[in-house]
């Protein structure tokens, strides 16, 4: 009698855990596919054109200060700064703009890594800053900005 109960329990538990793990994997694949169609094709092309297949590491040391909501997409003020000394290049990219590469800057060591600029944004989008260090590492940071009124034609 005990043995029968025991087997019953065993089967139940295995069934449950299998179901659980299956659902887990399913969730993961869903997540993965979502992040795949995240940035638009134009943005990915720009990245490939600029950096080829080089790895871009998200970093907290590149700081981007920008409004969460920009009233006018034609003038979105952003501030880029970093405590790192050895940054040679900065790229400003807007994911959902028709031409994602906004500007690229080359900095000499005489300058602090600090830059304020004003950019145009067509719609709500992530703004991505990619910094290249002098030893050719790529660091990135991004922030989503909501735009009340687009600034790229119409």
């Amino acid at each position: 009698m005990y043995r029968r109960e025991f087997f019953k329990r065993m089967i139940q538990i295995t069934g449950l855990s299998v179901a659980y793990f299956n659902s887990f994997f399913k969730d993961q694949t869903v997540l993965a596919s979502e992040s795949n169609d995240g940035p638009p094709a134009a943005f990915k092309e720009t990245l490939t054109r600029l950096f080829g297949s080089r790895e871009i590491t998200p970093s907290r040391k590149i700081k981007l200060k920008a409004p969460y909501i920009a009233e006018n997409g034609a003038v979105v003020p952003i501030t880029i700064s970093s405590p790192l000394e050895n940054i040679s290049k900065l790229y400003i990219l807007v994911e959902d703009n028709p031409s994602p590469l906004n500007a690229e800057f080359t900095l000499s060591p005489v300058l602090d890594v600090f830059l304020k600029a004003r950019i145009k944004m067509a719609a709500d989008s992530h703004v991505v800053i990619i910094a290249e260090t002098r030893d050719k590492l790529l660091l990135s940071t991004k922030q989503r900005i909501k735009v009340s009124k687009g600034g790229c034609g119409g």
Partner: protein, 105 residues
């Protein structure tokens, strides 16, 4: 009267560092806007922005049409002294250009 430069430069000392602000008067048309008659306005934007400190390039920017109209930039110079010359110049995609010298006060 001499034609006013399209470039304005202002500076401010911040704890031994020099903050440079520059405002350039330029339409920065990206070729997507339309005029009143519905015709597209041709792209006209600054492609190259150069900042020199005593004839040495310290800052170079490659801009596109998605930089705002009348571009405004702020940056920080670490080692500037009084009397240094800062030169800011730009070139756009219609081969127009301008340049301005500024002496650090």
């Amino acid at each position: 009267m001499a034609k006013r430069s399209s470039i304005k430069i202002r500076s401010k000392w911040l704890v031994g560092k020099l903050q440079i602000r520059t405002l350039i008067a330029h339409p920065m048309d990206n070729g997507r806007h339309k005029d009143q008659n519905g015709n597209l306005i041709a792209a006209h934007y600054i492609e190259k922005l150069t900042v020199k400190l005593n004839e040495q390039i310290v800052f170079e920017g490659t801009l596109s049409g998605s930089v705002s109209k009348d571009p405004f930039f702020t940056f920080l110079l670490k080692h500037a002294v009084k009397g240094d010359t800062i030169t800011i110049s730009w070139e756009d995609n219609q081969q127009l250009k301008d340049s301005l010298d500024y002496s650090v006060p």
